[in-house]
């Protein structure tokens, strides 16, 4: 037992020496605290930033907007830069949590990010004051060409009884309602109770045909030929297609969700200047290219897209759909607490509904 205690004490000293020391000499220009999605950056770009600017990056990751929000709101850690999605940015603006950006410090963001993405951002950031787009994509139907004969053009194929038990739907409330609302021709940001009731009825009618409500299993199930049709994010579509060449991705003609994850700076950021340097660095074409290749989600950085060597990817209609072709792409906005409750109640009704 004495040996155990001695061993324990040894470990204590090792741990405390290893974790205790910081290196301030290497980084003369201070720090920046970054809070980003997991696996959402090429780690090499962080090292490059530290080397070039002498600013130390303290990097942290989260898994959903909803787990990020309470931590940031409570002010537990002094994050400077965060990368939330569209509707969450709006919620943070509403709650006065974000700092206005100084565009003079962001020359790369102004020059390289396509104008259409700033325009789309107005759905949640009306005057483009708070956010710089980082990644974006659409939601569409991934289908297996060996199982689906007719061309897929519309959401309505998800209600086709031929494909009973081989349809995969998203298991998250807004993504699920988006499909039904778009199919009915309504806005996916609808808060009208009658429209939402109608969408609910449609989703209940679809329920017997659905094989499963899932999130990231769509990827693996489609690769493994376990389903014919699945609702999926475009960022995953390129990867799944590479693994299973029989898969095709389509944006339905009724329109869909165009999501954007953007960099924002928090109001209480202690390192605002460093934060702007970090965001601007991420908008440099060569850096954005590295991140695109690592994440494989579409980049809003037009200059970086020009640098993509693989022509198939540069001109891929999945990664870079011609936005002018669609006039019915929408971006989620924050609907307020009352509407959130209504959505969740209707969702519960769908989930608990059994036809037998």
């Amino acid at each position: 037992m004495k040996k155990f205690i001695a061993l324990g004490l040894c470990l204590v000293t090792i741990v405390s020496t290893l974790t205790g020391c910081g290196s301030s000499g290497k980084y003369p220009n201070g720090k920046v605290y970054v809070y980003n999605w997991g696996e959402y950056i090429d780690p090499a770009t962080i090292e490059m930033f530290e080397e070039e600017t002498g600013i130390q990056v303290i990097y942290d990751e989260y898994e959903t907007n909803e787990t990020m929000y309470p931590k940031v709101e409570a002010g537990a850690s002094n994050y400077d830069v965060v990368c939330p999605s569209d509707y969450m940015i709006q919620k943070m603006v509403d709650n006065d949590m974000l700092a206005e950006l100084n565009w003079d410090n962001l020359p790369n963001a102004t020059a390289n990010i396509g104008a259409s993405y700033y325009e789309q951002s107005r759905a949640f950031d009306p005057e483009n004051k708070y956010s710089v787009p980082y990644c974006w994509g659409t939601v569409g139907i991934l289908y297996n060409t060996t199982m689906v004969e007719e061309p897929v053009t519309s959401w309505s194929i998800l209600w086709d009884e031929k494909y009973a038990d081989s349809i995969l739907m998203q298991d998250s409330v807004r993504d699920l309602f988006m499909v039904a609302l778009k199919e009915l021709g309504y806005s996916m940001n609808s808060t009208d109770e009658a429209e939402l009731q109608e969408a609910k009825e449609l989703l209940i009618a679809q329920k017997p045909l659905v094989q499963a409500y899932v999130v990231d299993q769509v990827r693996d199930k489609m690769i493994g030929n376990e389903a014919a049709l699945g609702v999926i994010y475009s960022g995953e579509a390129i990867y799944t297609q590479r693994e299973n060449p029989n898969l095709a991705y389509v944006i339905p003609e009724e329109g869909t969700n165009m999501w954007i994850d953007s960099w924002v700076i928090l109001k209480d950021a202690e390192n605002k200047e460093n934060a702007e340097k970090f965001i601007d660095f991420m908008c440099r074409p060569d850096i954005a290219l590295l991140n695109f290749e690592y994440i494989t989600y579409s980049t809003p950085n037009d200059a970086a897209r020009e640098l993509i060597e693989d022509e198939d990817i540069r001109n891929s209609t999945i990664a870079f759909p011609d936005l002018s072709q669609y006039d019915n792409l929408e971006t989620f906005s924050y609907l307020g607490e009352e509407a959130d409750t209504l959505y969740n109640e209707l969702w519960k009704e769908i989930k608990s509904y059994t036809s037998y």
């Binding site: 324990g8 809070y35 303290i58």
Partner: protein, 256 residues
């Protein structure tokens, strides 16, 4: 016939317990990233695992926090048990009740309240706050496993040691402590495992730039868990298995 049924029953239990781990181990050798496709046998993920500083750092943090927090919690918990033993019955019941509450409390409540407490106290979030949080939720488990052992003790042996000239400290270490040891060890092990798999409390009490394995794995959910994690889990499982086999082997040798 009864034997046959028994074997099937055991086989079923083993399948339920180990099929998930088996799947994970097989997938750690799969060259394809997708679980749905077998891309050939490879050691690639193991090689990449040892080059991935973020995962190795998270592993190190996890082990350091688990070991430190369970050691400290064991110390505090054992001392608390000694004090509890010498209390009046009513006071003991009250204090025991209070120490048991955190165990029944939902983890998310513990996590958020610890986070708020640290904010109020102005403590910088990081390794230290996770450690404090883990010590906090580990203490009740140690008390829970040391206390029954404490009650079984015969107080006369301790008094006899005093009568025979031992100092109170000597009497404790030579007489009481050896009797408590099994309880202390099981409390330590329980605390260690609780700390090892905790996610929610760690999530709320961790600072920027520090991850344990559970929080690291969870952040990968959006983009799909990387096969390096399968490789790491396989290694951990194999290590634990070997350790268990070794531990189970030693007593037999002693008997001889």
């Amino acid at each position: 016939m009864r034997n046959f049924a028994r074997r099937i029953y055991i086989a079923l239990i083993i399948i339920f317990l180990y099929a998930p781990i088996g799947t994970l181990m097989v997938l750690s050798f799969n060259a394809s990233k997708s679980r749905a496709k077998w891309g050939g046998f490879t050691f690639k993920w193991y090689a990449e695992l040892f080059q991935n500083d973020a995962i190795l750092q998270a592993l190190w943090n996890t082990l350091a926090i688990a070991l430190l927090s369970s050691l400290i919690a064991t110390l505090i918990g054992t001392v608390a048990c000694i004090a509890l033993q010498n209390m009046k019955k009513r006071n003991r019941a009250i204090v025991l009740g209070i120490t048991n509450i955190p165990m029944l409390n939902a983890e998310i409540v513990t996590g958020i309240s610890l986070m708020l407490l640290f904010i109020v106290l102005g403590i910088q979030f990081g390794f230290f706050t996770i450690l404090l949080a883990h010590i906090t939720f580990n203490i009740p488990y140690v008390i829970l496993s040391v206390m029954p052992r404490m009650k079984q003790l015969n107080p006369s042996t301790y008094e006899a040691a005093l009568d025979l000239g031992a100092s109170p400290l000597q009497a404790f270490f030579k007489v009481t402590f050896p009797d408590l040891l099994p309880g202390i060890l099981s409390g330590f092990l329980m605390a260690f495992t609780m700390s090892l798999d905790d996610f929610i409390i760690t999530h709320f009490t961790k600072g920027p730039g520090i991850d344990t394995l559970s929080t690291k794995i969870y952040t990968e959910v959006k983009k799909g868990i990387k096969p390096e994690m399968y490789a790491l889990s396989t290694l951990i499982f194999v290590t634990v298995l070997i350790l268990l086999l070794l531990v189970n082997k030693t007593p037999k040798e002693k008997k001889n």
